[in-house]
């Protein structure tokens, strides 16, 4: 029997996006979680259905502001697979490099948040200061800090000019990140707040189909960059950080280790990039039929599926990483201390903007459904 029902969100200091969790508590132990979503449901999949294939690229980016480039590259991968074309080698290296730059900025941002959740404001500020170096690179080459619009079908918008600048900026964050990582590793307060908090076993991770860093923290090797290499990932060498304990601490360490691997990939891209020209526009055929693309976004596997008819999208289906990880949140929280709830929510690196589903409100009753459930119930 639970003693209290505590609402958590939608406007809450610990979560920057509006989700509402109803926590059933017994004393201070969580006994049940009821997630109420739908605050950010913007109907993106439906808006896609009217779009021209070139315009839809900009809509795909705006699904999420943090993994904006991951959505754009999943979109281009889906469309290019439909047209059976591959981008020229230089374009592939450029795309790989920008995807890794995005991973850097996303992980730094997240690491700052994680420290913010346990009250380490100084670390939050320090991680975000380093993140600005990466955003400078984005701004210099794409003209924008968040939504880059860097990809085009078959090519990229701009070539890079001075490679040393990128190398310099990326390496300038390393000393600080190294020292902050050892700070997190050696600090007793951090260990007490992260270790054994929100654990998931290897078996549960497979049952829930976890993706990305939360899965790698339980020892599941599921990096799409290794399993299904796209762009230039097949030609680069990097490690998949794997931890075994599956708790918030392991998820933190996976992401911090990935920062160093990303820097390695960027270095290899800059070294191996062929000095050919980037085509202005290489769209030879219009896509037709259906296609899918999957990429490893900073949060895990990002899957896009499209059906195109007469250069208009008629159906879009998007499975962002947070949608795959979110159901496991309940398992992580059961039995946890109520004070650890913000840490657990932050440890899966939620991106609610990506994952909003349909909510049906009828009278005073509200229910959150997946698309299939909605069809079965209301469109049958």
């Amino acid at each position: 029997m639970s003693d209290y029902l505590v609402p958590f969100g939608p406007q809450h200091p610990a979560i920057k996006e509006p989700i509402s969790l109803r926590l059933k508590l017994s004393g201070s132990t969580v006994e049940g979680v009821d997630a109420q979503l739908g605050y950010i449901h913007r109907g993106v999949e439906k808006i896609f259905e009217r779009e021209n294939i070139n315009n839809a690229l900009y809509l795909a980016e705006r699904i999420c502001g943090i993994c904006s480039y991951a959505h754009a590259s999943a979109y281009t991968r889906a469309m290019e697979s439909m047209m059976h074309i591959r981008a020229p080698p230089r374009v592939q290296y450029l795309r790989t490099m920008f995807a890794e730059l995005e991973r850097l900025h996303s992980h730094l941002l997240w690491a700052g948040f994680m420290c913010h959740e346990i009250g380490f404001e100084t670390l939050f500020q320090l991680f975000w200061r380093e993140r600005e170096q990466i955003l400078d690179v984005f701004e210099r080459y794409t003209g924008n800090r968040v939504h880059h619009s860097y990809n085009k079908l078959g090519t990229v918008r701009y070539d890079i000019e001075d490679e040393d600048y990128i190398r310099e900026q990326v390496h300038s964050i390393l000393p600080t990140v190294k020292s902050l990582r050892s700070e997190i590793k050696g600090n007793g307060v951090v260990a007490a707040r992260f270790k054994k908090v929100g654990p998931v076993t290897h078996k549960q991770a497979i049952e829930y189909c976890l993706v990305g860093p939360p899965a790698r923290a339980c020892g599941v090797k599921n990096d799409i960059r290794k399993l299904d290499p796209y762009e230039a990932y097949g030609k680069t060498k990097f490690k998949q950080p794997i931890y075994k304990s599956g708790d918030s601490y392991a998820r933190t360490m996976v992401r911090l280790d990935e920062i160093f691997e990303s820097v390695k990939i960027i270095d290899q891209c800059l070294r191996d990039m062929p000095a050919t020209k980037v085509p202005k526009h290489s769209l030879k055929a219009l896509p037709q039929g259906e296609g899918y693309g999957r990429v490893e976004a900073p949060r895990g596997e990002n899957f896009h599926y499209y059906i195109v008819k007469d250069s208009k999208i008629t159906r879009a289906k998007i499975r962002p990483p947070t949608l795959a990880v979110f159901p496991a949140l309940e398992t992580m929280m059961l039995g946890a201390h109520v004070g650890d709830v913000p840490v657990i929510v932050a440890s899966i690196d939620p991106c609610i903007g990506c994952m909003e589903r349909i909510t049906v409100t009828k009278g005073r009753r509200t229910e959150t459904l997946t698309e299939q459930e909605f069809r079965r119930k209301y469109c049958g």
Binding site: Q11, K16, P18, I40, H41, R42, R62, H147
Partner: protein, 134 residues
């Protein structure tokens, strides 16, 4: 310097944005931009805040919550709509769940355009509201 006489506290509410604007609002607090220079302090609860920064289009569900949050703030209160989505709905204007723009839901004092706006321009928006407070 005359602006520094007031020290408004700011809060942010994400009325269904893509996070892009929220990141730039948060970047405004961090060392490179540092809004505390203007005497502003970040508050987690809108009840403590004088300025509410609103991002996102305002969906049917979040519009109700936004109205409630606005009512909970103590007067005098100011609202800044941050980003194209908050101003007009942006790319999501034709979506089936669009209940905005924000100025239809609550009164707005300043608009900051951009997708997303740079932290400098959000700071400019805050400074404009500071001028309005005089």
């Amino acid at each position: 310097m005359a602006l520094m006489k007031k020290s408004p506290w700011v809060a942010v509410y994400n009325a269904s944005s893509c996070n892009g604007c929220d990141l730039e609002v948060l970047a405004m607090l961090t060392p490179r931009y540092d809004i505390e220079r203007f005497g502003c302090l970040w508050r987690d609860s809108p009840r403590h805040a004088d300025i509410l920064l609103v991002t996102g289009i305002g969906t049917k569900q979040s519009a109700k919550r936004l109205k409630r949050i606005y009512d909970q703030m103590a007067s005098p209160k100011y609202v800044i709509a941050v980003g194209s989505c908050a101003i007009s709905g942006g790319v999501f204007k034709e979506g089936h769940n669009f209940a905005g723009p924000i100025d239809k839901i609550i009164p707005v004092d300043a608009y900051v355009p951009g997708c997303p706006p740079r932290p400098e321009s959000i700071i400019l928006g805050v400074v404009k509201v500071l001028e309005k407070m005089k």
